[in-house]
């Protein structure tokens, strides 16, 4: 049977749910945090300013709104600062593994042979920071992994490698 010989083999690239041991984990670009902070402040910043003006000129009750928005901004910024470094990925012999989340951790392992296609997306903001998002698609829509914020060159290289590996290990549905 296929599984018998592999039961005890101590793999050098062990998958770990957390920590830096085992597989060669790679972080995503720290600029992703900057980009996300920028998006956050573009959404909440004008609101904060508007509320500030209203509170100063119209009615003091708006200070509650100011406080709430400021709190949301601070929480969002803290979350982004924590979450972005938690996104790590690694290429194994058989699979690509993406980990994310600190509070609620998830780990997705996508075998190369199961990849249907790979998307490399890059919006205007991401392009400005020289990043791209690599999205892995399998035959199951929920199962694909996503690696946001890869430096463009690295994303392209990854796509090439994945294409080559998918070709050599391809299987039908």
């Amino acid at each position: 049977m296929s599984d018998a010989p592999n039961n005890q083999s101590p793999s050098p690239h062990e998958v770990r749910l957390f920590g830096d041991t085992g597989m060669p984990w790679r972080p995503v670009s720290p600029k992703l945090a900057t980009a996300r902070l920028l998006v956050l402040s573009v959404f909440l910043g004008p609101l904060l300013v508007a509320l500030l003006v209203l509170a100063a000129l119209v009615w003091k009750g708006f200070w509650v709104g100011v406080l709430l928005v400021a709190l949301a901004l601070a929480t969002g910024a803290w979350l982004i600062r924590r979450q972005v470094p938690a996104i790590t990925w690694a290429e194994g012999e058989e699979e690509l593994v993406v980990r994310r989340g600190r509070m609620f951790r998830t780990l997705v392992s996508v075998p190369y042979g199961r990849l249907q296609f790979v998307d490399v997306q890059s919006g205007p903001l991401e392009r400005r920071f020289g990043m791209a998002t690599v999205e892995l698609h399998t035959a199951s829509p929920q199962s694909g992994g996503q690696i946001p914020g890869l430096p463009t060159a690295e994303a392209e290289a990854l796509r090439e490698r994945l294409a080559a590996r998918g070709e050599s290990q391809r299987a039908g549905l």
Partner: protein
């Protein structure tokens, strides 16, 4: 049958250098089909006219909506009708299909032309459907499902029953073969024999003349299940909502009889809401039959809309056997499967049901049919057992408080061919996914789980009702499952 065939047609032996075989003719759908497709509108117009006529017949001139211009109104209606018929005729003229060497093609549309083609090796299942109106006129539709998602079906609606059956047979024979040839050249010869044996028309390119008036082929295949309608009705009643309906309808009748409007006001809508969904399930699951023929399963079901779905066995991605709490009393089980492409749309949920209700023996029979590699002991343990028997790895005592009822049961077992998972203390369910069919693996861990040192492993399959998951495994166990499963899946894929 295959020995009786004098020479195989060119399509039966695909060679790398495709010889210039004459392309098969484009064929038209049945002339009535546009009218059936727009059936409701047509019937509505007709019914309106008839009702108007009926009024004037009985001499009722109370409210003539045309204010005396009956003649003009009649002309108007006639023009509209002619317009509908002309439009229908044009759309019929322009929709054509053909079954070629490697793909089936359908062209539709006049202004916005659409040309859809499905390669045989991408066909996941072929459906035969007979909605009520089509059934009255002796027509059927053929739905070719590919794995492209919700809108990727190729629908031939409508053909005569005999034609539809034959197109289905032809497609299934071709689909099965080209898939196997691509996947495994060594097994192709034996498979080809079985495919040709299953169908006299395997690979033949039929033209309209061949169809002429052939009788519909008899229902081939070995019957596996035939569920009596009474049991389907019972099975639906033996559920929480079913019980509610069973109580609500007498209560409703009584409250109407006694004249309690407040009672009717809230009981009525509730009954209708719960009842309609269950009525839909009832009409879909009535007359349920499961047939096994060679390498495929044939599911027949439906009260008004009779559907026959043909699923190649090797296209089944995952299977689930489940039992709700009320069914524990009767010992009934339900079997659902994931087939790529099916069940992606909202309306074809029942295509994924292999057994709407059945006892344990029937469930085991269907299960071993779908996956012969599941030993009986393991299957029984998955259905009703708990603890580490039969190689099951279960939730540890550490996560006991997270699953007070089901911690003993939920777990997984590794079989040579696939992964068997089970869960649920009250609502029992067991899933089986072949190693090669696991799309990807996902491990999740929330804050509470982290404190307990456990994690949940999800096995991702294609879209469908089956989503196998092993909740609250010990963290090292989860990591071990992940690491080993990657290797097992990869080896299984290479063997396939």
């Amino acid at each position: 049958m295959s020995t009786a065939e004098p020479t195989p047609t060119p399509a039966t032996e695909p060679t790398p250098t495709t010889p210039p075989t004459p392309q098969p003719e484009w064929r038209h759908l049945h002339p009535l089909s546009p009218l059936l497709k727009g059936g409701i509108a047509f019937v509505a117009v007709l019914a309106y006219i008839v009702s108007q006529q009926a009024d004037s017949f009985f001499g009722a001139q109370r409210d003539d909506p045309t204010n005396g211009h009956l003649g003009w109104a009649a002309v108007g209606v006639l023009v509209v009708l002619l317009g509908i018929i002309a439009g229908a005729w044009v759309s019929w003229r322009f929709s054509r299909f053909r079954v070629g060497d490697a793909l089936i093609e359908l062209r539709t549309g006049v202004l916005f032309r659409q040309h859809r083609q499905v390669r045989f090796d991408r066909i996941q299942a072929v459906d035969l459907g007979r909605p009520l109106l089509a059934r009255l006129t002796g027509l059927s539709e053929v739905v070719v499902q590919s794995a492209g998602g919700k809108d990727s079906h190729l629908k031939l609606s409508f053909l005569t029953d005999a034609q539809a059956q034959q197109v289905r047979e032809q497609l299934m024979a071709l689909a099965g073969r080209s898939d196997e040839v691509a996947a495994n050249p060594a097994a192709a010869t034996s498979h080809h024999a079985s495919a040709a044996g299953g169908s006299e028309w395997g690979g033949a390119q039929l033209t309209d003349e061949d169809y002429a008036d052939l009788p519909a082929p008899p229902p081939v295949g070995q019957p596996i299940l035939a569920i009596p309608n009474l049991r389907i009705l019972q099975s639906i009643l033996y559920s929480g909502p079913g019980l509610v309906i069973a109580l609500a309808i007498p209560a409703l009748v009584v409250s109407i009889a006694l004249g309690v409007p407040e009672m009717v006001a809230w009981l009525g809508p509730m009954t209708v809401a719960v009842g309609s969904s269950h009525l839909k399930r009832l009409t879909q699951e009535c007359n349920f039959e499961l047939l096994h023929q060679g390498d495929r399963l044939r599911i027949r079901h439906g009260l008004t809309d009779l559907r026959t779905t043909t699923v190649p066995l090797h296209r089944i991605q995952a299977v689930e056997v489940s039992q709700s709490l009320p069914w524990r009393l009767t010992g009934w089980w339900r079997i659902q499967v994931n087939v790529a492409g099916a069940g992606a749309g909202g309306d074809d949920v029942t295509q994924t049901v292999l057994m709407p209700v059945g006892n344990r023996e029937e469930a085991l029979r269907v299960l071993t049919l779908v996956h012969p590699g599941i030993p009986r002991g393991a299957a029984l343990a998955a259905l009703e057992g708990d603890g580490p028997a039969e190689g099951f790895v279960t939730t540890s005592t550490r996560a006991r408080s997270l699953d007070p009822l089901s911690w003993r049961r939920q777990g997984y077992a590794v079989l040579p061919e696939g992964l068997l998972t089970r869960r649920g203390g009250w609502y029992r369910a067991a899933q089986f996914v072949p190693h090669a069919r696991i799309q990807s693996l996902k491990v999740e861990q929330g804050p509470v789980q982290r404190r307990r040192g456990v994690a949940t492993v999800r096995l991702m399959s294609t879209v469908g009702p089956v989503s196998p998951v092993v909740a609250h495994l010990d963290e090292p166990e989860a990591v071990r499952l992940l690491a080993e499963q990657v290797v097992r899946s990869s080896q299984a894929r290479q063997r396939a």
